[in-house]
Amino acid sequence: MAIDLEGREEEVWALLAWRVKLWTGMDHSSVTAERAQHILDSLLVTLELGEEALQGNNALVQGQVPLEELFLLGRKRTNVKRKVARQLWRKVLDTLPPTDNLCCRETLRDGMAAFFRVYEPEFSPAEIHITCDYPICVPAEGQGIVFIQTYLERAYQENLFCARFDAQCLRQLWRRHGLGAEAIGNLFTPVLATALGCVLMGEDPRALAPSASGVARLQQGLLVKSRAQVEDLVAQALVRLAAALGLERRTLIRYLERAAMVVAADVFHGVERLTLGRVLMPV
């Protein structure tokens, strides 16, 4: 979301001057253009969050709110988001999947610890200072704390989903997919894909062990389907999977619906290239 500041340049300049003064401790009347741009970018991120805080509040119409007030609202929202993200992080740690995958564990444990240690919402709210090497199925958008909160929220939903399966079944599945200790890849996607595949094949999704014959049949059956039809079948399979696993959390179901479309794309391309066996990896 980009905030519209057309015609409010003088107000932005005054706000920027105030932020630069604070940043320099009022001891420097000038700063490098790079520093000023960085402070401006940070300012804009905070203003965007302030605008987000205003949404739904009919008493405050955007454009009538002084930017300084919007900034203070944004700063407050940044701090709330940081607290929420921190709580989410604890939940992510409590639900880490049973794996020795270094990328997953180091990003979610050590990387996030570093983020919360160095995150500086006052002058660098858009910077996360870490790389988040562990990929999640539906990539997070946004900058700074918005990105981290989304990332952790999604990682948490992925962990919750994986926790529905037996640890031994998960390890065997990840081994088949080459997701060992040194691998860099999302652990959740093959679990969801396999479970959905099993539902489509009429096999037990909890076992995460699709049969070779089942995968071959599914490959044949889907060959004549369009992308939209495959997506539709996968969406229907998700409903059956959710029922079979007793999934009720709305946030989890919503995330699975988005992730299922990623899986549907993988399945469609797998069928198209006759490599569905590499998506579902039969036992």
């Binding site: 920027l16 009347s29 000038s30 490098t32 929420v84 919360f116 002058f123």
Partner: protein, 164 residues
């Protein structure tokens, strides 16, 4: 949004010119004063120096401070007063960069004034080419620029997530 969309040189120039002219009452006892044309030229030179050094100025700017820091120097004369102020302005911004902003405005002005009156004996060339260059070099050796390192842990935050 880019910074270039925000700056208003015309407004800053007018403000600088008025400020510089108002300083004539402090510098008159030393026989130094600026004409409106000189004040405007000085303001334009400041803008150019900022552009060349890649800096942006906020608030009241440095010109008035610089003028008040140097106005009673025995090496300023009425005939080169405006020109010397222009050169000192350029030197100021250059060495703000060279020193990596390790010196505050007041610290740099104090050093400039002391060396201008002392070892440089009123030579801006020596000030820029020798004294301040040596200062910047020694600052780089002994004081790494670590302005970007900051942050707090916020260890005691309350649990607030309830998005399950």
């Amino acid at each position: 949004m880019e910074l270039s969309h925000l700056t208003n040189p015309g407004l800053a120039r007018q403000r600088d010119t008025e400020t510089l002219l108002s300083c004539n009452r402090f510098t008159a006892p030393q026989g130094l004063s600026l004409t409106a044309g000189e004040a405007l030229a000085l303001s334009q030179r400041r803008e150019q120096a900022l552009r060349q050094t890649g800096r942006l100025e906020f608030g009241d700017g440095i010109l008035q401070k610089l003028l008040l820091a140097f106005h009673d120097s025995p090496f300023l004369t009425p005939h080169d007063y405006a020109d010397t102020l222009g050169e000192l302005t350029e030197i100021f911004y250059t060495y703000k960069n060279e020193c990596g902003d390790a010196l505050t405005d007041d610290e740099l002005l104090t050093v400039m004034r002391a060396t201008f009156d002392g070892p440089c004996q009123g030579s801006v060339d020596l000030l820029a080419g020798r004294e301040l260059a040596e200062l910047a070099q020694s600052l780089r050796r002994v004081r790494p620029f670590d302005w970007d390192s900051s942050g707090d842990g916020g260890e005691d935050e309350e649990a607030m997530y309830n998005g399950d």
